[in-house]
């Protein structure tokens, strides 16, 4: 413990050097701005900056890039809350209640709680990283294909709690999303599926154009006849901050979101996207008033936002401790330090203590920077909404086209976004919830691949899911959740009237 403190002191002595502090600030700023642009998420942000870091020293490079990374994770939530436009996949869930809060004139508290939640989650995440990195890293490696399958199945079961709508409708939308995820080349056999001879579709449909289309574009289409957004006039600084009651309501979601996000974040693979979905599901499930979710519940912002930031921190654990690129983002960061001749891995902490501890300390610093950068900006962001809607929506549309195009420099993504906008609009008119589509799309390819990988490992024996303790535990929890969620379906006669008038799941 004393040793850790000493090391941390060493780290802070590195991280608080004015030059490094400045780069942490620049990184957070760029990240926040980049994350706010639709389509340009953390990965695109750090990939763009990567070449610029080659000339810097490795500590600065990693501090700058990690600043961009969590800055972008946070920035994505701003547009989700203000204009229902997820800047990146992890903030899809924030759209639901965050935007509902904006419509009720509470954009300020929503933004503030997102910033506070991100800060707390980020700080808890760094604490976890610091104290548990080596232990957790070994644990993370035990996540092979069967565990991954179980985790993703559990994520799928969260669907039942995700929306307040009718269960068949929710599940139909999940099916639709999962089917969308089937488009593209099958990694196991090499078959190209449902690509309609469009070569870009062989790569599958990206979550970004789909999320932007389903949420952002469809919202603009829904409000096409409206002249202005209904907004509060000149909110005072007091109204911009969450009330004491709202803060109190958010403590639980932030704590749980941090824990869930952190644990999912350390698992190799791209599963950290689902951390915000799972957090939302948990909050709705345990809430005493689940009917508020989807209509501006602050817990629905606090939980997922904390979860995605904690996951961002958690993802650094296998990267730093093992040197394994567990997700595209960490792979780019590994490339960033490898070009300096430094190999991340088990020997990093011993060989390069000032790099490792400087990095850890800079993450504390970065989180503080993000908070002081973003809280004062809440007022500025909110006043963006005062731009007349007639000017605002054309610019949003133009930004959507620009953002989706720049993800992979392909017009096909723009077409996907527009098609999804039209589909999302139609589905919303018919009363379908769209969040399950996004979750389905994210889950489908990972779930299918890990399931078939597991079967390849076991030569087709499904017992592999039962023989492995982590997998079987997660499947058990998932099954339990499924049974609990089925309860209202099986015994619905009593609540039928209540359910059909409010259109919601029963609170347990």
């Amino acid at each position: 413990m004393v040793e850790t403190l000493n090391s941390l002191l060493l780290g802070f002595s590195v991280a608080l050097q004015p030059q490094i502090l400045m780069y942490a600030f620049i990184g957070c700023l760029i990240g926040t701005l980049v994350g706010m642009l639709p389509g340009v998420g953390p990965l695109a942000g750090i990939s763009m900056l990567l070449p610029a870091t080659f000339g810097l020293n490795p500590i600065i490079a990693i501090v700058l890039l990690s600043g961009v990374y969590y800055g972008a994770m946070y920035g994505g939530s701003t547009t989700s809350i203000l204009i229902r436009l997820p800047g990146e996949a992890a903030s899809v869930m924030t759209c639901v209640d965050g935007y509902a809060m904006t419509q009720q004139g509470r954009a300020g508290p929503a933004l503030a709680i997102a910033a506070i939640g991100s800060f707390v989650a980020g700080t808890l995440g760094v604490l976890g990283l610091m104290l548990l990195a080596p232990t957790l890293a070994t644990f993370a490696l035990r996540f092979g294909p069967p565990e991954y399958t179980a985790l993703l199945l559990m994520g799928l079961l969260v669907l039942a709690y995700m929306t307040g709508g009718s269960i068949p409708k929710t599940l139909a939308m999940a099916g639709f999303g999962l089917l969308l995820g089937m488009i593209g080349i099958d990694a196991m056999s090499g078959y190209t599926r449902f690509s309609f001879e469009v070569i870009e579709l062989a790569d599958g449909i990206g979550i970004v154009p789909v999320a932007v289309g389903l949420f952002g574009i469809s919202e603009i289409l829904m409000t096409a006849s409206q002249q202005t957004l209904k907004l509060p006039k000149n909110p005072s600084m007091r109204e911009l901050m969450p009330s004491r009651a709202e803060l109190k309501q958010s403590i639980g979601p932030i704590a749980r979101g941090s824990a869930v996000g952190f644990l999912i974040g350390i698992i190799p693979g791209s599963a950290h996207i689902i951390s915000s979905f799972i957090s939302y599901g948990i909050e709705r499930r345990i809430s005493k008033t689940p009917e508020r979710f989807g209509h501006g519940a602050i817990e629905g912002v606090a939980g997922p936002e904390s979860a995605n930031n904690a996951a961002a921190t958690g993802a650094f654990i296998p990267m730093m401790a093992l040197g394994i690129p567990t997700s595209p983002v960490t792979a780019v960061m590994i490339a960033a330090i490898m070009v300096h001749g430094i190999a991340p891995g088990p020997m990093l902490i011993a060989q390069q203590p000032e790099l490792f501890w400087g990095f850890v300390a800079s993450m504390y610093v970065g989180n503080v920077v993000l908070l002081i950068l973003n809280l004062p900006l809440v007022g500025l962001f909110v006043s963006l909404l005062r731009i007349p809607y007639a000017y605002l929506y054309p610019c949003i549309l133009a930004f959507c086209i620009l953002g989706c195009y720049s993800v992979s420099n392909s017009v096909v993504d723009v077409w996907i976004m527009l098609a999804m906008g039209g589909i999302g609009y139609t589905l919303r008119k018919f009363g379908f919830d769209l969040a399950p589509v996004a979750l389905g799309l994210v889950l489908a390819p990972m779930l299918e691949l890990s399931l078939r990988q597991s079967l390849a490992m076991s030569a087709g024996n499904y017992a592999i899911f039962i023989e492995r303790p982590i997998a079987v535990t997660m499947l058990g929890v998932g099954l339990l959740m499924l049974l609990v969620s089925l309860k209202p379906l099986l015994f619905k006669s009593k609540q039928k009237d209540w359910r059909s008038t409010v259109g919601l799941d029963e609170p347990s």
Binding site: A187, A202, I324, M338, G341, N409
Partner: protein
């Protein structure tokens, strides 16, 4: 007059290549061999051509997606491919499956070979084998029960394993992933018994004892792994390299190709490039277009033969 103007414009446009950013497509997820070589190459070329060279990852199906994207790109020299050796395998596999091929080999014009590294067979330390001989006898005793991970079906890390398995008449289960990084992660977690990897990718893990290196596919021992024997030494006539090469779509105008070839020749001499490659333990193995074309041709024939021998993976078992 207008025609004259237009022709002047065209001439200028050709002379001025490149006038805008060049996209270098890496057909794998970040962190793989192609990217580790591609980044310093792109940076060195960028300095010479005075135009940005953006590296774009287009992963999928063992590289087929990115390869096809370049094969069908406009042949103007602005879309290039950081190809891995698996580029020759995919069309052969398509032929085997009787599929509409994603692209064909003759859709590319080679610019230069950048590096060629043999792969090295690595196993998880929990596997009680110290050398190739022990490994083979264990695998023979447990026919069809051991498993290996790869970068994807018919991918760069799948072919050498199949060569090895075929030569020793072994059967193992294949767990394809979406790239070299995930394949390595799967092995590090002990979810499969072995995989192959480029020397650059596996170095830290072998040094820290997380993986055991057994044998190399090279013709001679790798300079960074003097203790690791080759298959040839062990009496098995198999050889395989993961090479990375720059390619353009076929039909790229000759003057543009010349600019790119000259730039690449100068790029591999660049000190920054050399240090970058040395840092990631990836020796440069430069070959200019004509020589590279010959090398590639021989390699493609060898791999196509392996694909035929391997057959349809889906049909086996």
């Amino acid at each position: 007059m207008a025609a004259l103007l237009a022709s002047v414009c065209v001439a200028q446009a050709q002379e001025a290549f490149p006038t805008r950013a060049i996209t270098l497509i890496v057909p794998f997820p970040p962190g793989g061999v192609a990217e580790i070589t591609g980044r310093p190459t792109a940076m060195a070329i960028e300095k010479i051509l005075k135009q940005p060279m953006a590296l774009v990852n287009r992963p999928g199906a063992g590289g087929a997606v990115g390869n096809a994207a370049v094969a069908n790109a406009k042949p103007d020299g602005y879309t290039l491919l950081m190809a891995l050796s698996s580029i020759s395998v995919i069309p052969a596999a398509d032929e085997l499956f009787n599929r509409k091929p994603a692209y064909s080999i003759d859709q590319f014009a080679p610019i230069a070979l950048i590096s060629a590294d043999p792969t090295i067979l690595v196993s998880h330390p929990s596997l009680p084998v110290r050398n190739l001989k022990e490994l083979v006898s264990l695998a023979r005793a447990k026919q069809g029960q051991m498993s290996f991970s790869s970068s994807g079906i018919y991918g760069a890390l799948h072919m050498p394993m199949e060569m090895f398995l075929h030569h020793y008449k072994l059967k193992m289960r294949h767990v394809p992933t979406t790239g070299g990084g995930p394949a390595l992660t799967t092995l590090l977690g002990g979810h499969v018994e072995m995989t192959t990897g480029g020397p650059a990718a596996i170095t830290t893990h072998v040094k820290s004892g997380k993986l055991r290196a057994h044998v190399s596919w090279g013709a001679k021992r790798h300079e960074n792994y003097p203790d690791v024997p080759t298959f040839k030494e062990q009496g098995a006539d198999i050889e395989y390299y993961i090479w990375t090469g720059l390619m353009a779509p076929r039909g790229t105008p000759e003057p543009v190709m010349k600019v790119l070839r000259d730039a690449t020749r100068r790029a591999v001499e660049d000190t920054d490039f050399k240090t970058a490659m040395a840092r990631v333990n990836s020796p440069v193995n430069y070959m200019d277009a004509p020589e590279f074309a010959k090398y590639w041709d021989a390699d493609a024939k060898r791999l196509a033969a392996v694909v035929k021998v391997v057959g349809k993976v889906d049909d086996k078992k």
